[in-house]
Symmetry: C2
Subunit: 860 residues, 2 copies
């Protein structure tokens, strides 16, 4: 099967390949594409298996040269190189000489023989290269240009003789035979084992087919002729700007090859580059107009910005191909917004065009320009933004640091593919070696991760885990540093940061996303600072406020420890009474910042031993501070020690067995809500969330006490306090029993971090030890802590959602694990009918866009 | 509603209470039950609420005394005490005097007035006691027998006067009014708040009803009269043997009250007790024959052995009640077997009669009579059998020891209800105080747990955790001791044990159980010793052989550690090569013992750090032994340390990332199988089990390597080796993905210990800290590590079984957690269609019986 390029038929990439499909569309839009024909992948497959090549219409084959190019379904899968100038024969070279001169014609002929011999007959290209250099030597000149016409003629003759000698028959003089030879060799090459393995590795299916495009040549050689590429948007910013390269007297991709210095497309470009050769605009202003017209038509007709390969033949523009215009992640937003503003695409399409992860680039804070910069190392600004964290020296350490929710900076000599997972986990990257295109730089830019590379003034001893500066300063694992990927500096400590200016296309896209999405996006925010960031990122509320972080502050940890060391419930209550006003003020601040948006507060979760000091010295200090014998502190610590803290006495298990803790927290929440309701006038309805539930009776017991506290506060404050009580679903059993839980709960929020740990029987803190092997061996397709495991954890979520809603149709469902910021997981939540996802503040824009995409896809 | 006792109506305990139902059945069988009527619970309820008492047939009320007894649906729920001799009046006492003499008649009348006054009119019993003692004092005698007829008459008059003075009206002289008063007071008493709370605490439902039995009195006073109880089976052994107590001139439960020394029932009994008063057999041999006849008829008609309350009135025997004969757990087997042999019940019924847990009593080893006994403490032999274990001083320590599968002996001053959970976890109990009916003794006997109480020659310091003997010897937590509950001794170390002789009824029941059961019972056996015990207990195979225990032996742990400390795969393989022959010989021995029964071998499961020493001294020793710097050992140990070992790098995660370990194990298994197949002639088909799977790819990777090893062994040994590869389902994800796993697996065996931990997010090692509170608060109805959580873990099991069988109809399903020995869990497995359960060897008989019961119940 084959179709004419100018056919009206709807062209499918599946049948005619990506290039073929696009060329047909361009023809349909009236763009200047050379006439031609496309052989379908089935036809090409038949040819590979020995069938004859179908007849090519005579208006194509008669009296002109042809090009043959491959058109796989996906251009990333590769395919045989194009062959140009098919139809060159001893006769035609003469005709052609009259058109473009004898030298040009001979050159084309010789190059065609060479590529035909190499591609179709598999001769060694070196033969021809030797021939070429022999001729230069014989003529005693340095370059082809210095060869005489006779020299060129002799070289052509030698070329043909070489062909005949190696193949045993003269170079074919029948254009049809040439064409068939080229097509057949391409079909076979596609089916060769090496080509197959290569494309399988790129993700092509076993039966991926190749289509072939046969077109009339636009020569590019002769008067007012040449070739080049052009695109209408800026690669870096995405703004409208025509730019490209042009090479007179050239064909195909010559302009990209770098054999001769190409011309710029516009005068502005040329001037900026300080180039003297005239730009195409200066040579032929009307050509620029034609190209601009082409760009505008393509954008409107095909809904994207393209980079065009063009050839100018005697002043006439021909388009050989149109690839999506090159653009940075940041530029893609501008392009999408502009296309939508031009009505070339809908806003929904614009939203779907943007990879949510790419937004990361927009979101990185910068060091405050007024901050003092204590620089200890200088390198290249490989990826913009600044990040502060503790030094780690291995990807494993980075992962374990992430698991503990401590930002870290990964410091390496250079990075290699094994480090990628660690880079995912790091807040920033610093390498001692490497340039702007080093592995670290490329990956960091891909991840939108602040990165400084080639900081050669630092000495790194990985054995001892020490960074040494030129002047002998030392930094060790755990020390806090900052990388400034915008300036290329490593700084001591944590200088003041400012958020990036989020303007223009970013804000437009976010606005459109919020209009399009039908699933809420909240933030996980533990502190007023987090809450402010979240608010700036326009969240729908706080989905997870972890209260334990509040107790680690200097003034509180001591009281917390007194509570833990208390001998009786009465002593414990006395300590809790002192914590109450501190907690209350935390919540007052949070409620004020969130100004009436929902705030979900998780009651205390970690096992108590996490609040006790670990070293003997610290214990001694604590004992002295509390006027206790150290033995008592040590005994209590030993008492609280657990084999598997993740599966120990934490969460609601504390709430049930030491109810006075949750009572204090509930009181703090309710008093704060009453206070802010009164002061702000907006009704604050806090959401109280119980962690680590595995049986509904746990919820009932806590609910009973929380209700009582609420009633007390209502009476004391004389207000009509409202609140919601819900469950954080983190154990598989809670998911299975969601029907029970829904009867005592206003909401269920899935804590997919812990749920993943328990469903897999896999501690995130310990998984770093073998996760890399597991991904490499494809035991897990993805790290289930990064991308929600749909088959296992996902099933539990669906089951729980169904059972919960059946038992309580008003039940609100949310997800508050780190998966809340993962686009695929957001999509899953939308499909599962969740009401919201909640993620870390800096991932909120990603989640908002992912939520919009999911809403568009699910509801269309 | 009421029924006549001799009615043909089918009597339901629900309507007429347990006593009423049984009496009706006895009447139906022609047993000598006094004539009477039963008021249904609905009628009694109506009376309590003010309705009138229905008419009692005149043949009952006219001309004789009546008794009124309560008949709750379940006799354990309690109920008002019986009232006897209703109908005694001033008139009737005269009639009665002629029958049984004036003293006897006056005594009955006075006792009736007293019990009527106390029960119906709520007078203080002390009034009447004072009256009684006043009369003795007045007459200046010590006992009632020394009072003159006039004294007795005066006491009766005083009694009536007291009644009249307190109540305001004379003692009722209308027998009908007396009867109605008694019935009404019983009905009200049942509905009183205290009675209600007491029976709710015993598990009665909110609406539990009371029926009332009204019967003619058999007097027991007069010539050839008296009362007593008798049963036909020995309380301790269950063998046929008539025994009981009899008290001439007595009523009701007088024979049990101990006011006078009762007579034995048979001459043999009397002689054995060295009693001089004649036995009932000697007084009235024909009565014994009547009673024996009653016993035989009741057994055949009601399918059990009973203890009868009887009264003899003028030589005629009347049965007042028949309660299931008292019998020890051990006796219940004999009784059930005998009943079945007599065809009084079917074998299935006999099997259902026995509480599987009671078999524990039969299963405890004893100290070998020839063993040296190194006694350090002596107490009372509170519960038979002997057990060896490490000393623990708290129930928490006992639970944690059990979790680590280390037998322990719980040592306490005395035990209290808080210790019960710890006792469940201990192998034996030793207390310093307490007698044969102390808490420890009672509970230990109930649990079939070897127990010594009141070892007063030991001093226990719980603070320091030291036991000190009289001669100053000290024992500390972790020291190994043995308690001999048969002799009442505490011994140093672990003397040689012998298994109990399991004869007679036990073997019969086990044989019947095996015939009845349609679900397999295997044993969890790690060592040849375990396997031999299992074989002796007639298992169907080994369902779980944990190979890691094999590496802790002296000669192996060093090589194991070399393997762990190896720098390269090559070094690791060298160490594994040295472990291979040791592993092989383990398996050879196992296969030989099991003689062709299936043996499921679990590949290495624990994280490697479990094999490294923990203290610095031990590390130093290891470093020296291996000629390594201690820093290297410490670094490796630090490297392997995990936050949550339960969720860490263990099980198949080791198998995937260090495949050479599983390869060695597979080779050892296959070589051993080939060797034993050759030497024994029986084909050994080992079952290789992969632990901690969470994704099928893990199975595929291990399977690929195991298959290759099998092929190598086939070629090397020239045998046609067969084996099965399966998965231990321990993670919720494995259960959810059972459909995938079933495609690579021949069997799935559910490791419900770990599966419970992960489903609940609860570490068994750490749960002891709050499990007691959780059970007390009814957060968990049962400890899910003892009784399978049907609602959560059970659902995962059902889901996995369904998905697994759908994907692979030949899939074999088993359960190998400790729940395998829990009767309720065995029943669940039968319902779920599992092929077998596997439990610890000593629980095998329990599982066999539970399996039989489940099979009978499921298939009937």
């Amino acid at each position: 099967m084959s179709i004419r390029l100018n056919s009206d038929t709807e062209v499918l990439a599946k049948t005619f390949g990506a290039r073929g499909a696009r060329l047909a569309l361009m023809v349909k839009l009236g763009l200047p594409v050379p006439d031609g024909v496309i052989l379908s992948s089935a036809t090409v497959q038949a040819i590979a298996h020995g069938e004859t090549v179908p007849e090519i219409p005579t208006e194509l084959t008669s009296g002109g040269l042809l090009s043959v190019r491959s058109s796989p379904e996906n251009l990333d899968w590769g395919g045989p190189n194009a062959i140009l100038n098919i139809g060159m024969t001893d006769d035609f070279v003469k005709t052609q000489s009259q058109k473009i001169g004898v030298r040009g014609a001979m050159d084309l002929y010789r190059r065609f023989i060479q590529s035909y011999a190499v591609t179709v007959e598999h001769l060694d290209p070196e033969y021809f290269e030797n021939l070429y250099y022999d001729q230069l030597k014989l003529a005693d000149v340095d370059s082809e240009e210095d060869l005489s016409d006779a020299d060129l003629s002799s070289m052509l003759a030698n070329c043909k003789a070489l062909y005949e000698e190696e193949i045993g028959s003269p170079f074919p003089q029948d254009p049809r035979a040439q064409l068939h030879g080229v097509i057949r060799s391409m079909a076979r090459a596609w089916n060769g084992p090496t080509a197959k393995i290569l494309r399988l590795a790129k993700g092509a299916p076993e039966d991926a087919g190749l289509s072939i495009v046969v077109q009339k040549m636009a020569l590019g050689i002769g008067d007012n002729s040449g070739s080049g590429f052009v695109q209408m948007v800026d690669e870096k910013t995405g703004r409208a700007r025509i730019w490209g390269r042009f090479l007179p007297q050239s064909q195909g991709q010559d302009a990209l090859m770098g054999l001769r210095t190409p011309h710029m497309i516009t005068k502005a470009e040329r001037e900026e580059a300080g180039q003297s050769v005239p730009s195409l605009q200066e040579i032929s202003p009307e050509t620029i107009k034609t190209l601009q017209d082409v760009g505008a038509k393509a954008a409107m007709g095909m809904g994207d910005a393209f980079q065009f390969e063009f050839t100018i033949e005697n002043g006439e523009v021909f388009l050989l191909d149109a690839m999506p215009a090159k653009r940075s992640a940041r530029a893609s937003l501008r392009v999408a917004v502009d296309l939508a503003d031009q009505k070339a695409i809908s806003r929904d399409e614009a939203l779907l065009r943007i990879e949510p992860r790419n937004l990361v680039e927009h979101l990185h804070p910068q060091i405050d320009p007024h901050a003092t910069r204590d620089v200890f190392g200088t390198g290249l600004p490989a990826s913009p933004g600044a990040a502060t964290g503790k030094i780690v020296f291995s990807p494993e350490a980075a992962m374990s640091s992430e698991a503990q929710e401590e930002p870290c900076i990964l410091v390496r000599i250079e990075t290699s593919p094994e480090d990628i997972r660690g880079m995912h986990s790091a807040a920033g990257v610093l390498t001692v070696r490497g340039g702007m295109t080093s592995h670290a730089a490329v990956i960091a830019r891909g991840l939108g991760l602040p990165c400084v590379v080639g900081a050669g003034d630092l000495k790194l001893n990985l054995q001892k885990r020490i960074i040494t500066t030129l002047d002998g300063q030392e930094f060790r694992e755990g020390d806090v540093i900052t990388v400034d990927g915008t300036r290329g500096q490593a700084l001591i400590g944590a200088p003041k940061m400012i958020l990036p200016e989020l303007g223009g296309a970013f804000l437009t896209i976010m606005e459109w996303a919020d209009n399009a999405r039908t699933i809420g996006v909240r933030a996980n925010a533990d502190t007023p600072m987090d809450a402010r960031v979240a608010r700036d990122f326009k969240v729908d509320g706080i989905g997870l406020c972890r209260t334990e972080h509040m107790f680690f502050e200097e003034d509180r940890i001591t009281v917390m420890r007194e509570m833990i060391l208390a001998n009786s419930e009465a002593d414990r209550r006395a300590a809790l009474d002192r914590l109450l006003p501190m907690q209350r003020s935390d919540f007052v601040e949070l409620f004020e910042i969130m100004r009436g948006l929902p705030v979900t507060i998780r009651l205390l979760d970690p096992p108590l031993h996490e609040f006790l000091p670990h070293s003997r010295d610290e214990m001694q200090d604590l004992a002295e501070a509390m006027d206790l014998p150290i033995s008592k502190v040590m005994a209590r610590a030993a008492d609280l020690k657990e084999f598997n803290p993740m599966l120990g006495k934490r969460g609601v298990r504390l709430g049930v067995t030491m109810p006075e803790i949750y009572e204090m927290q509930a009181r703090a929440i309710f008093e704060a809500a009453a206070e802010v309701t009164k002061s702000s006038g907006a009704e604050i309805v806090p959401e109280v969330m119980i962690p680590l539930v595995s049986a509904n009776k746990e919820v009932e017991l806590v609910k009973h006490r929380v209700d009582r506290v609420a009633e007390e506060v209502r009476v004391e404050k004389g207000t009509a306090l409202k609140f919601k009580l819900g469950v954080m679903v983190e154990t598989p059993r809670a998911a299975l029993r969601a029907g029970d839980l829904a009867q005592s709960s206003a909401f269920l929020s899935f804590g997919t971090n812990d749920l993943t740990q328990m469903t897999y029987g896999l501690s995130r803190d310990d998984a770093g030890r073998f996760m890399r092997d597991y991904i490499n061996l494809d035991v897990f397709h993805e790290d289930p802590f990064h991308t929600l495991d749909l088959e296992g954890v996902g099933e539990l979520l669906l089951m729980a959602a169904k059972r919960g809603r059946e038992a309580n149709s008003d039940l609100v469902l949310g997800l508050c694990g780190e998966h809340g910021g993962d686009p695929a997981s957001v999509r899953f939540c939308k499909v599962a009918g969740f009401d919201y996802v909640s993620c870390s503040p800096f991932r909120v824009p990603i989640a908002r866009l992912a939520a919009a995409q999911a809403s568009i896809l699910v509801e269309s």
